[in-house]
Every structure is written in C-alpha cells, then in structure tokens.
Amino acid sequence: MLSELRFGSFLVYAPRGMNETSRKAQQFVRALKEERPIGIPRQSPSDYAARRLADELSASPLQDLFRVDPLLVPVPRSSLSVEGGIWPAFNIATALVRNGIGAGVLPCLTRVNAVPKSAFAAAGTRPRPVDHYDSIEGTRMVTDRPMLCLIDDVITKGATLLGAATRLQQTFPQATVVAFALVRTLGFVDDIESIVDPAVGTVTLRGDEAVREP
C-alpha cells in the first residue's frame, strides 16, 4: 500500500450539521450522488461545482494540484455498476475537463467486488484501504502524462482514495498519483459556515487505517 497520498478538496459538508449552510451542503451532496439538477436555472451539480472551481482556481491552494494538466481518473463506486447507471466521480471528472481542469478523463479503474459504503458503515466496519485495493482492478492504457489525479465525490477518512491510488500507482508505475475529492466530510464538526473551503493535504496509512489531514 502507498504510505501517503497528496489530495485536495474544494467543498466541505457536516453530515450532522443543523444550520442553514450545513443543510444546504447536505442537500448538495445528495444532488451530487444522483446528479440531480440544482439552482436557478437548473444545472448539473457537477458542472456547477466544476465551474466554481475553475473560476477560483488561480487563487486557490488547489492550483498546484492541477498545474501540470493531469489525466483525471474517476474512482469506482463502492458497489458494482448497473449498466447505464450514474457514476458520480466520472460526472465530476468530465465536468472538470469541460471547465478546463485536467487533460482528459481516463476511466481505467473498475470495482470488481462491492465494499460497504463508508458513509453508511458503522465505525469499525468501514472498509480499510486494503479492502478497496483488493476490490479494484486497473487497466493499463497508453498515456504519456506524468501525473494522474484520482477524482472522487466525497472523502471521509480517505481509505477509498488510498486503496484506489495504490492500485493506480501499480498500474502506472511511472506516473505521479495525486487525488481530488470535490467534498470533504467534517464528521466531528457540528456546523459549517461556508461550503467552499478549498484545502490541500495528505491521506496517510497508519496501521491498516487511513488518516486524513486536514
């Protein structure tokens, strides 16, 4: 397993928050999972967030993550995929590229065995990085890009990203692998004051668990 992964995120949400901003963020995450149109006029939540990120990127700590135009690799869903079904990470990746972030989308990782969803799993039963690694397969594709950026919708502890990154690094040994999750979960925060809160940090393997900072 990789011992450390550099990651960035643009938005935050507090699953148990009760104030107006927290509620708005919770509804945004729901919309993102179902690609449910938001706002007035109605628009894709992935496109909306990607456009907001593109507008703010030059003054954002995330600029460094996308500076070399990485190929974007969507993280597979935790379950197997129904044919023609919604894949939130893929939607986000394509929305980012449409808004000038990333060189293209490389859907080279596939989930071959379902794992419990982190958000629903009780503490202690959440899948570990190695469980994600074991349940994901990588397909080698030709690319000359030096950097690959994993794309996911939500990061909780980072186990999914660390497992997927290890598989991706194994599939593309020459590439530098980083990660971006659109939304960062603030599990121990009662409420948030702003949904937009860009940050760059690390996911570290400690024992067999992932530890996210920030």
């Binding site: 963020a25 509804q27 449910r36 706002g39 935790s78 129904v82 023609g84 079904g85 379902a114």
Partner: protein, 259 residues
C-alpha cells in the same frame, strides 16, 4: 450562474381532478374519469438529468391531488402480488412509521404488497400515490377498482399510458421504472425470483436512488436477487430510521442549493 435549463414551473392548476361518477362500490374494471391532468415529468422531480431522461415517459396523466408529486419525501413500498401474511404486517409497520414522518407512500396498485401499502397508508391517515400500469380509466386487477377510485378522489393516481392504450404485460416494467423515477427511495418488502418488482429495484439502482430490501427477505435462502442487488448498492433495511437518513427530510429545496 450560466448555462442549464430554465427552472421548471410549479405544477400548475388544475391541481386536482374529480371523477365523473361518485366512488362506486362495484368491481367494474372501467373507471371513467371526468378530467385528467397532463404533467410533464420534468416538473415532478424539479428537472431530470441525462440518465433519468433516457427512460422517462414523455407525459404523465394524473387524477387526484397532483400536489403530492411535490411532496418533500416520496417512498415506493413494493413487493409480490402473492403477499404473505407476515409481509402484509411488515408493510403496516413500515408504512405507519413513514406516514408519521409525513412521507408520501407510492406503490403500483397491484394485488398483494402494493395494495397493502395503499390501504395501510389510508389506515394510518397518510397520503399515497398509485403509479398505474394501465390508463387511468382501467383497473388492474379489476378487484382494485374501488380502491383506485378512492385514490383518484382522495389521493393521486398517475400513469404514463394515455386513455385507450392497451394493457400489455410490458406496461408493468415500464411502470416500475417510472415509479422509481418518481420516488426518493424504494423499499422491496418481499418478492420472488422472477417478480416484476425487481425491475423497479434495478431502476432505482441505475438512478443511484436509495434502494432498501427488508431484512426478512434475506431469510429465504432460495432467493439470489437480494444478495445480487446488495452488490450493486442496495441496503438491508433493519429499521425505518435508515430510510429517514436517506430522505431529504428537513433539507432546503434543490433550487436553493447553489452556493
């Protein structure tokens, strides 16, 4: 904010239509509605995405209280036509808990679990929507004609099939897809290996909408579909509280979500 489609208008009047005839007690198969409301499905969910548009019906025909299509939370409670007695009791408990939280119960007005879902909703004082596999002026099964009339008068019946459309076997899986589209979550109470209910489950999974399967379903070792659906993202329903977490209860409307 640039791009995107114009916001869908609120569901326009008439928001309610009445039957031409008073609620009958006969089992007549044919039910002549006085006025039907035609609804653009886009208006129902506040805008469809590209995935939803692929199988969404062009029009919905409705009779009853159309405002139920704007309810904050709608849950489909579906299952086998040959419902077991324990299955019916589970429906009663589940529907009771959902109605208490103001959730609108959606089902297909088929025999068995669907009928129990509608009847228990009424019993608990809740609101319910029937998504029909027939045009509005037909009942299937015919024995449900009185219940269908009552739903049209006091609750809501919708269908994608216009008057005069033949009632074909293929209507029902199409209806199930529409029902999944209209609901924030779906619950399968019980279903056999070849039950038509399963098509709704797969559609909910395709749309990435929460799909729950009652724990009791897994006790039948002969069934393979429950485990298969779990692999594709379904959840085991142990407690109605899980459902409440999956519903947009207390959350702002989607048009207010942009930041």
């Amino acid at each position: 904010m640039a791009g995107g489609e114009a916001p869908p208008p609120a569901i326009a009047s008439p928001s309610r239509c009445k039957l031409a005839l008073p609620m009958a007690t006969s089992n007549a198969r044919v039910i002549p509605p006085a006025a039907l409301v035609t609804i653009d499905p886009v208006r129902v969910m506040g805008g469809l995405n590209e995935f939803e548009k692929r199988h969404a019906p062009q029009q919905l025909y409705a009779c009853g209280d159309v405002s139920l299509l704007e309810a904050t939370a709608r849950v489909a409670v579906v299952g086998s036509r040959k419902a077991s007695l324990p299955g019916r009791k589970r429906v009663a408990r589940l529907v009771g808990a959902l109605v208490e939280r103001g959730v609108v119960i959606v089902s297909g007005l088929a025999a068995g679990i669907d009928t129990a879902a509608h009847e228990q909703t009424i019993e608990h004082g809740g609101r319910t929507i029937a998504v029909l596999g027939t045009p509005l002026d037909e009942a299937h099964p015919a024995s449900n004609a009185p219940l269908q009339r009552r739903l049209m008068e006091e609750h809501l019946a919708v269908t994608q099939f216009p008057l005069g459309h033949p009632t074909l076997r293929s209507n029902f899986p199409r209806r199930n897809r529409t029902m999944a589209l209209l609901c924030h979550a779906s619950v399968i109470v019980e279903a056999g290996e070849s039950s038509g209910t399963l098509s709704q489950g797969w559609e909910a999974l395709r749309l990435n909408r929460p799909l729950f399967i009652l724990r009791s379903v897994f006790e039948n070792a002969e069934l393979t579909w429950p485990e298969e659906m779990l692999q594709y993202g379904a959840h085991v329903l142990e407690d109605p509280g899980q459902l409440f977490e999956a519903l947009p209860l207390g959350l702002p409307p989607l048009e207010e979500v942009a930041f």
